[in-house]
Amino acid sequence: MAKVITEENLRSLIDLLIKAGKRVIGPKRAGEMTIYEPLASGSELTPGTLPRRSAKEAFFPLSETILSFQKDRDGLKVDDVDTASFPETVLVGALPCDAAAPQVMDAVFSWDYKDEFYLERRRRTTIIGLSCTSADDSCFCTLVGLSPTDTKGSDLFLTPLAGGGYSCEAVTDRGEQLLAGYPELFTEAATVTPIPAAQPEGAPVDLAKVKVWLEEHFEDEIWEEVANRCVGCGACAFLCPACHCFDIVDEGTEQKGSRRKNWDACAFSKFTNHASGHNPRDVQNKRYRNRFMHKFKYYDDKFGKTLCTGCGRCIRYCPVGIDIKGILEEIGKKSLSTKDTKGHEANHHG
């Protein structure tokens, strides 16, 4: 038996969650695009197409206040942000490439320093994932170990059905609780016919071998070849579900202002600019190399995870067509024929 929810009941569920005081974030129409945004009602949900920006904003907003300050006759007053005031949230309709990303980022935000802003939002968020039914030539989740039906990161997972509605799979206890909380919205079905899942083109890449190749090719002509044309904007990082670098800035006046945490991007020339004026990544292709290395080597070195879920946004919106899928496939091929002269096999973990 499978649990099934109709499209109408899914929208009712959203309405009920909002009524219960929860913030419900889901894909919502905004002009010609869809964006993950807080929904005012279930009717606003626009599921199925990949939103322009990723769902990471539910945990890691593009700009947030981390403290505010005020100076008056009595002196300086600093106010911390009360993370306990963060709203209970349900992220609904996250496609697998977006739903899987927070689990990857959890590692860096709870490493030596616990980022309470990110972690508190994570703790307060339930993710309702949605199986993906359409892929284009920029999609590559299957190359990086995920799939259009992957439940990774979801608490509850929806699969669109041929006759309308969705079958629902509780992936975690939280997902179970959500199902149990609204039993009237779900029905049981003996058999269900899902809409066929998307089929991104391309064969899986051996990421362990890619990593070994990267270790040995920090200096390689490929970086110039693929990234000399990089213009140094942040479109790739800002649309990415897994990029998580941020910049801390103080804004306001001497009397009153706030300290903010804003998205940053390794493609920006200022990203590694030292106070001395020296920049170790002095040209654009070195900055792109860092982006690729971070995703497929450094993050794996540190946390045993790949920092890419294959959503393809950075390909679709790169002003100069830098194609991480193509580069990954190319390095994947090169890594098969490279002799591992330094004996790195023992070091990596698939």
Binding site: A30, G31, E32, M33, R52, R53, L62, S63, D136, D137, S138, N228, R229, V231, G232, C233, G234, A235, A237, F238, L239, D247, V249, E251, R260, N262, W263, A265, F268, K270, V283, Q284, N285, I315, Y317, P319, V320, G321, I322, D323, K325, G326, E329
Partner: protein
């Protein structure tokens, strides 16, 4: 905001001349590199995605065979000649493939003394139009897939290039959708216009793609990146966003050559070229000036004449 024009039937645009252009670009690039007239050629090559074209910098004559010209050649390659791309300029003397619109940017850059005419070989391409943002690169060029700027193009055949390649077909008449949008904005009250732009800029995520693809944003230290003192808030919030886009528009007034790359690359679909065009319109009315028409001109905002209009001083 949609165009006010009536929906037009989709017309296919003849791009058979692009194959001719591709052949001629290849042979010219090969010759220039073989004869060591240039050290590198900035052009377009095919990408992995079907029908796609991406910028490429080649230094080996054998690579000339990779060069292409197609409706997917959307980029304005003149950015690779600016000091924002020192590593490309370091390769030596450059040749660049330029559509008519791109050549206007090159002319503007020469006017701003960014390089001298003799320092660059310009391969001008006759162009019937390129794709609009978001179009799958393998789609044919039609009135539905063509970029807005191309609908009003007046430079299908580039002027001032070292040679012209390709062949221009008969071009269909296309309604000027961007001009119509601009008229619609002009007809608004200042309050309505303010609201319109506020809404547009609220979407901005400050990825700065608009700045990074702009041939005229070549400053080594952008005012808007400065921290001490900070001119514009860097946070992607309404106040800083508005500040950034106003600074951008003002700094491009009388300089923007209308390539509309800023709008094409905006991942948040902000119609930035409307601002550029508005600025250009003002400059034309006030100073009878159009940017990028000839290479050696000084812009009205970078020069002084006693006869200049001073009615704005009150």
């Amino acid at each position: 905001m949609k165009s006010t024009g009536k929906p037009e039937p989709t017309v296919t645009i003849d791009t058979s001349g692009y194959a001719v252009a591709t052949e001629e670009i290849r042979s010219e690039a090969k010759r220039l590199l073989l004869e060591k007239i240039v050290d590198a050629v900035v052009g377009y090559q095919s990408g992995r995605r079907k029908g796609s074209a991406v910028p490429v910098i080649i230094t080996d004559p054998a690579q000339a065979e990779q060069l292409v010209f197609s409706p997917a050649c959307v980029n304005n390659l003149s950015i690779y000649l600016t000091k924002a791309k020192k590593e490309i300029r370091a390769k030596g003397k450059l040749a660049v493939v330029a559509k008519g619109c791109d050549l206007r940017a090159l002319a503007g850059l020469m006017g701003e003394s960014q390089f001298k005419r003799e320092e660059v070989v310009i391969i001008g391409v006759t162009c019937a139009g390129v794709h609009s943002a978001g179009v799958q690169p393998n789609e044919p060029l039609t009135s539905a897939t063509i970029a807005k700027k191309c609908r009003e193009c007046s430079v299908h055949i580039p002027e001032g290039a070292d040679l012209i390649v390709g062949k221009l077909p008969l071009l269909p008449d296309l309604t000027p959708t961007e001009k119509e949008l601009l008229e619609k904005l002009d007809a608004m009250t200042p309050g309505e216009r303010w609201e319109y732009w506020k809404e547009q800029f609220t979407r901005c995520i400050r990825c700065l793609a608009c700045r990074q693809v702009c041939p005229f944003c070549y400053c080594e230290q952008c005012l808007c990146d400065r921290g001490r003192p900070q001119a514009v808030d860097t946070s992607p919030r309404p106040s800083g966003n508005m500040g950034w886009h106003i600074v951008r528009a003002m700094h491009l007034a009388g300089r923007c050559s209308g390539c509309a790359e800023c709008e094409r690359v905006c991942p948040m679909d902000i119609p930035l070229n409307l601002l550029n065009r508005k600025m250009a319109q003002e400059l034309k009315e006030l100073y009878q000036y159009e940017a990028g028409l000839t290479p050696q001109e000084k812009g009205p905002l970078t020069s002084y004449d006693e006869k200049d209009d001073q009615s704005f001083i009150k």
